[in-house]
Subunit: 99 residues, 2 copies
Amino acid sequence: MITEIAHITIDPAKADEFEAAVAAAVPHFVAAEGCHSMRLERVIEDPAQYRLCVEWDSVEHHMVTFRESEGFKQWRAHAGPFFVETPRVEHWDQAAQLI
Amino acid sequence: MITEIAHITIDPAKADEFEAAVAAAVPHFVAAEGCHSMRLERVIEDPAQYRLCVEWDSVEHHMVTFRESEGFKQWRAHAGPFFVETPRVEHWDQAAQLI
């Protein structure tokens, strides 16, 4: 299992609407093949910066199966209007759970 | 509870030694006041990039109590020699666990 991290920048004055838009898109992730969990985090030092963390079976489940699905279009229809720049996306592998 | 994320860049040829050095420093985090968990993740797209994720009771537990402790010096003594640049540190608040 890998974690997608999408670094998202928004106008912090619209934070409540953005968080509601992300919540409204949750069913599209629940329905996505290979999707295990999804959480939204916010940078304490900069309230314009969020990151969406999604656990997938593989990078391909995110970048191919999901990206080419109707669910991805729906996610972008909900959240995309709040992005002030194109999100930067990375995938992370857990090296070690230490504590 | 908040999450410290330290973005760490190393020479990927030294990944095994770096991961062993991080593991050797774990007791200093276990002993730190307000520290709840610690994990190490690696960027799939760029094996030089790691991030250390540590859950703390508060930003102050990390930036004041821990940073001024002997445990921090010991952590840096173990892992610091592998850093190719000064780690970038952020603190994150969970906005929502969605799935």
